[in-house]
C-alpha cells in the first residue's frame, strides 16, 4: 500500500493563532477520514470567518488539544521557527519476525503535513523610530496586523479547499472500514519534540517502526 503524502500550503501565523489554525485543518482532515457513524458538528472559527466540521470523536479532540498545547509550549521556547505538524493514518499489521516473533508494525497509508511559519511581530515603535506620534504608530501596527490576519484567513481557506480536493481525489488507498468507531482508522499526530531534535528524528523513528516500504499494495 502506497502512502499518500500531502503537503499543505505553508501558513504564516502568530503564536496566538496556532491553535485555531490547527483545529481547522486537523478537524477537516479527520472528518473526511472518519468513516464511522458520525453526527457532524459545525464549528464557527473563533478567529476566522469560516466554518469547519468536527466528527464528534472526543478522544481525537482530546488528543489533538494535548498536542497543540505541547506545540505551543515548544514554540514559546523556540520562537520564529518553522514548525510542521503531521497527521498520519496507519493500519497495524503484525509482522512475523523470525528472530523476535510477532511484531506489530504500523503501515502509514496517508500523511498530512501542516507547515506553519511562526512569527513574533516586533513593535513598530522600535522598528520605525521616526514615528513621532504614538497614535500613528499604533494605527500602522493595527493595519499591518489586520492585513496579516486577512492573508492568513484567505490562506487557511485555500488550505481547506486543498484538503477537500485531495481527500476526495485519492480514495483508492484508503483501507476498508473494519471498525465501528467513529474514527475508523488509527491515527497519529506528530509535532516537533521538546528535546530540540529535528523533525527528521521522528521520521527516523517511524521508519524503524514501520520498516521499509512495500512495493506491493
Amino acid at each position: 500500500m502506497n502512502c499518500e503524502i500531502f503537503h499543505l500550503r505553508e501558513l504564516d501565523v502568530e503564536p496566538y493563532q496556532i491553535r485555531e489554525v490547527l483545529r481547522c485543518i486537523l478537524h477537516t482532515v479527520m472528518f473526511n477520514r472518519a468513516l464511522g457513524l458520525v453526527r457532524p458538528h459545525d464549528v464557527d472559527s473563533e478567529l476566522f470567518d469560516l466554518t469547519y466540521v468536527q466528527c464528534g470523536d472526543l478522544t481525537f479532540e482530546k488528543k489533538m488539544e494535548e498536542k497543540i498545547d505541547q506545540l505551543i509550549a515548544w514554540v514559546e521556547k523556540h520562537p520564529n521557527k518553522k514548525i510542521t505538524v503531521c497527521l498520519s493514518f496507519y493500519e497495524t499489521r503484525s509482522k512475523q519476525n523470525a528472530w523476535f516473533g510477532h511484531k506489530m508494525e504500523r503501515l502509514y497509508w496517508e500523511q498530512w503535513y501542516v507547515t506553519l511559519n511562526t512569527t513574533v511581530q516586533q513593535s513598530h515603535l522600535r522598528s520605525k523610530p521616526h514615528h513621532d506620534k504614538l497614535g500613528d504608530a499604533l494605527d500602522l501596527m493595527t493595519d499591518e496586523r489586520s492585513k496579516r490576519h486577512a492573508l492568513l484567513e484567505s490562506g487557511l481557506k485555500e488550505v481547506m479547499l486543498q484538503i477537500l480536493q485531495q481527500v476526495n481525489e485519492k480514495k483508492d488507498h484508503v483501507p476498508p472500514v473494519t471498525s465501528q468507531d467513529v474514527v475508523s482508522f488509527p491515527y497519529e499526530i506528530s509535532i516537533p519534540s521538546s528535546s530540540d531534535s529535528s523533525f527528521g528524528m521522528d521520521m527516523f523513528k517511524r521508519m524503524l517502526q514501520t520498516g521499509p516500504p512495500t512495493m506491493l499494495g
Binding site: 458520525v38 453526527r39 458538528h41 466540521v53 477537500l164 481525489e169 480514495k171 483508492d172 484508503v174 472500514v177
Partner: protein, 653 residues
Amino acid sequence: MAGSLSMSKTEQIIVEFFVKCLHIILEARIPCSSSNSSSQPGRDSPSPASSSSSSKDRWFNLVLGDCPAALESAEPWRRGPGDHPPMVVDILLDRSSGDHRFRGGGGPGTPDSWSEGEAEDSYGTVLERWTISHERFSQRRSGSSSSHALEVPGIYKRATILVRTLYCSVRTLPAHRLFHLATSSSQSRSFSLGFKVWASPPPLLPDEAAMEVRGFAPVETPMGRLAVSVAYRHTTAVTALEVTPAILPRIIADYVGSPTTDPLRRLSADSFTGSVPCGGISGRRGVHVVSVPTSVPSPPSGIGRRHSWGGGLNKLQSPTLLPPSSPSFGSSPSSRQHSPVAPPTTRTNHSQPIPIYEQQQQRSRLSPPNPSPPGTCHSLESSLARYLPRHSTAPVSIPKPSSVRGLPDRSALPPPTPRRSFEQPPQHVYASSNLSGARGDVPPRLSASTLAESMLLISPPHPYQSSQGDEGPPSGVKRSLYGSPRVSLSRSSIKLRDDTDDEEFACPFAVDEDDEELQSSPRTRHTNVFEASGPKSQHAAVGALVRLLKSAPPLQGRSWSLAGGEVDMAAVASPEATHQVVRSKSRPIPGAVQQHRYQASAAAYQAPHHVYRQQQMTKSLKTTSEALEELEVYKDLRKFILTEQGSVQASRQ
C-alpha cells in the same frame, strides 16, 4: 444472482446518494429544513447516535436528522429502477418576503412545472446550482483492474468519502454566509432562501452562467459514474446581498447630555461667536447654537457611510444581479421584476430604518409661534443675524408672558423637517423642528450652504417652562431658519429668556443695557419695551427712583409728586422703603401697573434732571452753614430756657 443482488445494492446506493446529497444541500442552505440540526454536537457515543437516528438517515454513516423537504423533493428519484436523471438543485434568494418559502421540486415527470407548493411571483436570484448525476455508460465496463473498486463496499466507501467532502464544501461556499444570517437572526428578515429541484432545469442567464464551477471527483460504479458539481456565485456578489446588521449604526440625538435633552447648552461661547450673552441664559429654551463648517462635504457614496445613515441599505446592489426571465415560469418578461436585486436590508422590525428626523419628530413637539413685538436687543439681533439665514419678511412677535397659559398649542405646529432634506454626514446637527410656517407644509429642501449658515438646533421646550406658561416659547426661534417666509429669528425670545434669568440675580435693580438703550431710544420704543419687558424694567425704574431719592435733598417736611404718583417723602426713611412704597403702589391691577410702570420709567428716565433741579432748589433755600448757625441759635435758646427754669425753681424754694 449475486450479480443482480450487487446491482440492486448498487442501485440502492445510487438512489440514496441522490437523497443524501439533496439532504446535505438543503440542510446547509434552507433554514428550518431539518428538524434535527447538525449544529448539535455529535459526541463520541455511537450507541446514542445509532439508536436515535433512523435507518434511512444512517446512509453513508452520516446522521443529519430528518428533512422532510429533501425526502419529498427526492421522491421522484426513488421511484423504481432505471435511468436516474440528474438532480439539479437551485438555491434561490427571495427578497419578496421575510418568511421562509418552501418550494417543491419538479420531478422527472414534471420537468417544467412547479410541484405542489406556494404560488410565486418571482423566481428570485439563483445563488447556487447543484447538479447530482449518475452518468451511465453506454455499455457496461469490464475490466479486472478495477473490479475490486466496483464492488459494493468499495463503491459505498468512496461514496461515503464524497458525501463527507460535499458536507464540508457546502460550508465553504459564499452562500453559506446568507444561511448563517438567516438562521442567526431572530428578527424578521426581508429575504428568504428557497430552493427548487429540477430534473430538466432551465438554462442559466448569462450572468448566472458566469458563476464559478466546482466539481468533485466522481465515484465509479459498474453502470456509470456518480458526480456532484456546483455552480456558485462569487464571494463579492453574495456579499452584496448580505443583510445589514440588526442594530444599525445611527445617530442617537437624545443621548444623555445632548442639547436636545439638556437644553442648558445654549449659545455656548465656543460654538457661537456672536454677542449673545451666555451667562444669563438659564437654558430653559430649546435653542442651541452649533457651529457647522461652511464647507459641508457631500454625502459619501460608499456603502459604509450609507450604513451609518441607514438610508442607503437598499442601495447595496450589484449591477450584475438580475433576476432570471425564463419563459418556463409561465410569465411574460415584462411582468418580471428586472430591477437589480437589492440586498436584504435590515433585520429590525422596520423594513427600512426610521430616519432620524422622523424619530425626532415623534419626540419633539414645539410650541407655535406667536406674535410679539420686534426684538429689543439690537446687538443680539445684529450678531445673530450674521449667522442665521434671513428668510423672514416680517417679524414674528412673541406672546406676552402674562397672556400665555398652559401648554402651547401643538396642533398649530408645522411638520418637522423631513429626513431627505438632511442627507448630510452625521457630524452635522440639524434642527428637528418645523421648517414651514403652516401646518402640513412640506418643509423646503435644505441646501448644504443653508445648513452651514443655520446653526440653531431647536429642542422642545422644557417641560417646566411649558407648565409655567408665563414665558412664551421661543417659537420665533423655532421657525426661524429653514426657508419659512414668515419666520425670522426672534431675538426677543432670547431676550425674554434673559429677562427671566435676571430674576435670579441678586441685584434686581442693577442698571442693564435696557436702561441705557431706553435713554437713547424713542419713547414709543420704550413704551413697547416696558409693556413687553415687564418686571425687569419696573425694577430698573425703581432702582432709578431710589437713586434719585438718595441724591435728593434732606427731608424738609414736604412731599413732592413723582410724575403723578404721590410719594410721601417724610415717610421714606431709606431707599428700600422707597422701593416698597413704589412697589406697593405699582401692585397688581394690570392697567394701573402698566401706568405706574410707565410713570416710574418715565420718572427714571427723567431722574438725572430732577435731581439737578432739587439740588438747585436746595441751594436757593439754605446752605449748610446757615443751617449750622440756626442750630447754634437753637442751642442757645435751649440753654437759656433751661437756665430760666432753674432760676425760677430756685426762687420758689
